[in-house]
């Protein structure tokens, strides 16, 4: 049975797909009416200019048939303007004086004519420019692909908003009713834990019926226990296992769902800044600096990334000490102040400081949200919970940049930073209302270097961190964000075309992460998914040795997306499970260490890829990185004999886990 919440989410997805397809069709029509004539007008402008040059030459006394260099000039024009299929200079009788481009044209090719006239106004010749409609169609198609991407972004935003509504406590009663109906539909007769919902008119009769059956069962079991009838008790136990009689359903675990809206809003706040940050920084760079403009422009990004990476470890512990909700809110507040200051300052050095402030807030929010999911999930739910966490970040990564770009275009980069600040404040408010109060855990304060060293001795953790986590981020940043764009740019592809190819990775991640996370849990094969993901992603990079056609690059990026969506959530869950090996059982330090090592891969990726590219070329550089990732995954596989290093404990952990109680 599909519930109201899931049903309406699905319905909204389908309705929006249809509605956005209609918008896309309208966009195509509008493009035909406005953009195509604008492109054609360019050909007219080229024709008029060429005609003017010829007129000048003729007026200088050079006869038309003795003009030299006209063909080369036409060739240059065609080389600079791909939509010009052919340029000819014709006499007034139609004879061809000079021709550049295709010898024959399709019959319906549009041709723009510009007349060459003598000083007296008498016609001397005609410049005829044939327009290649396929090039114009390709240009319009590229615009429509951008529109389609906007449609995907709109859909993702809608689904996040739906998740926000579905995750609120206001619909708990609905969730309770759906849980009861779903349980009956799957033949479960267990009772349900939520006491408030049990009093509602639609729920109370269901609970009463189920309670009747359970009461009879309790009575029969008591009788059998009294009489010591082993066969009867065995039969009752068998029916309990099959039907859930005598047990209490703990209710849905909302750990990840609850933190998702606040986390999504916060991540969008940071992602908004991506498209306009370099341009904004360019305007702030003072004239005299001891380093180059390029370095000055990249420095705020480096400061932010370094700040986030270095804060992971200490903040993981701080977040545990403060409580997840308080530290999330504190992080959002710090980041909001950082964004606000970034939007108000006109000083480059101060701007660097504000970016560092935002990085501190970002790191605190990140570790708090991650810690919340880990704390409030049973081991068997951890991968799925972390998948929701990863998905929120990936969706924000997809939705934020286009929105930020438009805000910066319309209102300016400084105003866009103020919008980011506002979003961070909204995330703070949402966290205040949605996250459960959690008591600070003083026991979390004791994670030091010795405990981390002990954690590293946990079975397979070192192999996981250095064989899988670090190479995965290294591969992503080096190949997807550096080597592929640089190579495609070198081959003459536009930034927009490169950007469209790069979108393959996050879109696949958003779609596939929850699917693979659920599969990994169901099959109890977290390690297997991590290894397979590494092999697929690393093996995909090796394909770039075969060539760099857009189709092959799309395939490589798709394999990267599939591989990393297989491994990312199981990998985090394996690390969280390894926290058991830290004295005191704290997860904070190990997770902090994990993120620090992972983000080191982020930081090292572009620099190492740049060095490799310069030293051994594109194909060898990507192959080296691919081999490194495959080797890391194999090393992790060889480091353990069992299918899963830390098998889920679902079967052994039957206790109820109400939201707000760390497990």
């Amino acid at each position: 049975m599909i519930g109201l919440r899931a049903g309406i989410s699905l319905a909204i997805a389908v309705i929006l797909c249809a509605a956005l397809a209609v918008i896309g069709w309208a966009a195509g029509r509008a493009a035909e009416r406005t953009i195509v004539p604008a492109i054609s007008a360019k050909a007219e402008s080229v024709g008029r200019s060429a005609a003017a040059l010829v007129e000048n030459a003729v007026q200088a006394g050079i006869p038309l048939d003795q003009l030299v260099g006209v063909r080369d000039y036409f060739d240059d024009l065609r080389a600079a303007n791909a939509e010009l299929a052919q340029i000819r200079m014709l006499t007034t009788f139609g004879a061809v004086l000079t021709q550049s481009g295709a010898a024959s044209l399709p019959p319906d090719t549009p041709i723009v004519y510009s007349s060459v006239a003598a000083r007296s106004g008498a016609p001397l010749a005609t410049i005829a420019i044939a327009i290649d409609t396929s090039v114009i169609s390709a240009q319009v198609s590229a615009v429509l692909v951008d529109v389609a991407f906007i449609g995907i972004v709109s859909l993702l935003v809608a689904l996040e908003l739906v998740a926000l509504v579905v995750g609120t406590s206001g619909v708990e009663a609905l969730a309770a009713l759906e849980a009861r109906i779903r349980a009956l539909a799957s033949g479960r007769l267990s009772q349900h834990a939520s006491e408030d919902a049990a009093k509602l008119p639609l729920i109370a009769p269901i609970d009463a019926r189920v309670e009747q059956v359970n009461a009879v069962h309790r009575q029969v079991r008591a009788t059998a226990e009294e009489s010591g009838d082993a066969h009867a008790l065995a039969a009752l136990a068998e029916v309990e296992t099959r039907t859930g009689l005598g047990s209490v359903h703990p209710g849905e675990n909302h750990a990840a769902t609850i933190v998702r809206p606040a986390l999504f809003l916060f991540m969008v706040a940071e992602e908004l800044t991506r498209p306009f940050l370099p341009r904004l920084v360019q305007g702030l760079v003072p004239p005299k600096l001891p380093f180059s403009l390029d370095f000055a422009m990249s420095l705020p990004i480096v400061v932010f990334m370094a700040g986030v990476a270095l804060c992971q470890l200490p903040f993981a512990v701080a977040s545990e000490r403060l409580g997840r909700r308080s530290s999330f809110m504190l992080g959002a507040l710090i980041a909001a102040l950082g964004y606000c200051a970034s939007g108000l300052t006109g000083d480059y050095w101060l701007f660097l400081g504000t970016r560092l402030l935002s990085a501190i807030g970002y790191a605190l929010v990140f570790v708090s949200a991650q810690g919340h999911v880990i704390d409030h999930s049973r081991p068997s739910e951890r991968t799925a919970g972390l998948a929701v966490f990863v998905k929120a970040i990936m969706v924000a990564g997809l939705c934020g940049p286009p929105i930020g770009g438009v805000i910066a275009d319309r209102l300016g980069g400084q105003a866009a930073f103020l919008v980011s600040s506002g979003l961070a404040v909204i995330a703070l408010v949402v966290a205040f209302f949605s996250l459960p109060r959690s008591a600070p855990r003083r026991s979390g304060a004791g994670v030091g270097l010795s405990e981390l060293a002990a954690a590293l001795k946990a079975p397979r953790l070192t192999a996981l961190l250095f064989g899988c986590a670090l190479p995965a981020k290294f591969l992503l940043v080096a190949v997807c964000f550096y080597l592929v764009p640089v190579e495609l740019q070198r081959e003459g592809y536009s930034a927009a075309a490169i950007g469209r190819l790069q979108m393959i990775y996050p879109i696949l991640m958003v779609v596939a992460v929850p699917v693979f996370a659920a599969l990994a849990e169901r099959m109890n094969a977290r390690s297997g998914f991590v290894i397979a993901g590494g092999l697929i992603a690393g093996g995909g990079a090796l394909l770039l040795t075969l060539g760099t056609s857009p189709a092959l690059i799309a395939l490589v990026l798709a394999l990267l997306g599939i591989g990393q969506s297989m491994s990312i959530a199981p990998q985090s869950a394996l690390v969280a499970d390894s926290a058991r090996h830290v004295p005191g059982g704290s997860s904070a330090g190990v997770l902090g260490l994990f993120r620090l090592i992972e983000r080191s891969g982020n930081a090292a990726g572009p620099a190492a890829a740049g060095l490799l590219l310069a030293a051994i070329g594109f194909a060898a550089a990507t192959a080296s990185i691919g081999i490194m990732v495959v080797a890391g995954a194999l090393a992790f596989a060889l480091s353990g004999r069992h299918a899963s290093a830390t098998p889920t404990e679902a079967v052994n952990r039957p206790e109820v886990s109400p939201e707000g109680t760390p497990l």
């Binding site: 929006l16 249809a18 619909v171 609905l174 068998e238 039907t243």
Partner: protein, 225 residues
């Protein structure tokens, strides 16, 4: 709960409508940017041509301020396209050296809205000046208006349709949920899996109550039936 459900459906309808509006607006912005690029590409050709001429003269040793023929060139190029407002050649400090609008010669270039520019470089690729083509924004505005009209005509009915469809499906799903809730309150109307589980439980309970040892095979058979 009915009020919650209706509120939820209304909220979802608003989300659907808002996201269609969001998609339409961002599509408009994307098209508008593409339209601007298409228009500016036309003026870029002019700017490129003048910059190439100036660079060629500079490579022959003629300093930019001394290239007096540029004055006539920019005037001629400006006359060729009625959409061009003016063409300026600036030095490396942003002062206008030559212009199709002679009154601007010697003045600072000032802000450059609705303009495209190209660097003029010497043989060492250092900037020695800039060509700026200012164009009439009317063609751009007309295109933007046409795009907005085209999209608005489709987007508003689509937006309303999406909201109404969400409400309709929401009401259908809510009615289905209510029916399922009523059925769930009566064991004889429970779903087949629940009835099977109940039958299996009742069979075991009856066997235990009768005092005879329940037959697991019979229990399983009852459950299957």
């Amino acid at each position: 709960m009915i009020r919650t459900t209706l509120g939820l459906i209304a909220l979802f309808a608003m989300i659907a409508a808002a996201c269609v509006a969001f998609g339409a607006y961002f599509s408009y912005v994307t098209l508008q940017n593409a339209h601007r690029s298409a228009i500016e590409a036309r003026f870029s050709i002019t700017a490129e041509r003048i910059a190439t001429t100036a660079q060629f003269a500079a490579s022959l040793g003629i300093a930019l301020p001394a290239q007096t023929t540029l004055s006539e060139l920019v005037a001629r190029e400006a006359r060729l396209d009625p959409a061009v407002d003016s063409i300026d050649v600036l030095d490396d400090r942003g002062t206008v050296l030559f212009s199709s609008a002679s009154a601007r010669v010697g003045a600072p270039a000032g802000p450059l809205p609705h303009a495209v520019g190209r660097r003029i470089e010497n043989d060492l690729a250092a900037a020695i000046g800039r060509v700026v083509v200012r164009y009439d924004p009317a063609s751009m505005d007309a295109g933007a208006r046409a795009l907005a009209d085209d999209l608005r005509t489709i987007a508003i009915p689509t937006l309303i349709g999406a909201a109404l469809a969400t409400i309709a499906i929401g009401i259908l799903l809510a009615a289905d949920l209510k029916r399922a809730a009523r059925r769930a309150a009566e064991p004889e109307k429970w779903p087949p899996a629940a009835r099977t589980a109940l039958a299996a439980a009742q069979s075991v309970h009856a066997s235990v109550t009768r005092g005879g040892a329940p037959d697991p095979a019979a229990t399983t058979e009852t459950a299957r039936s």
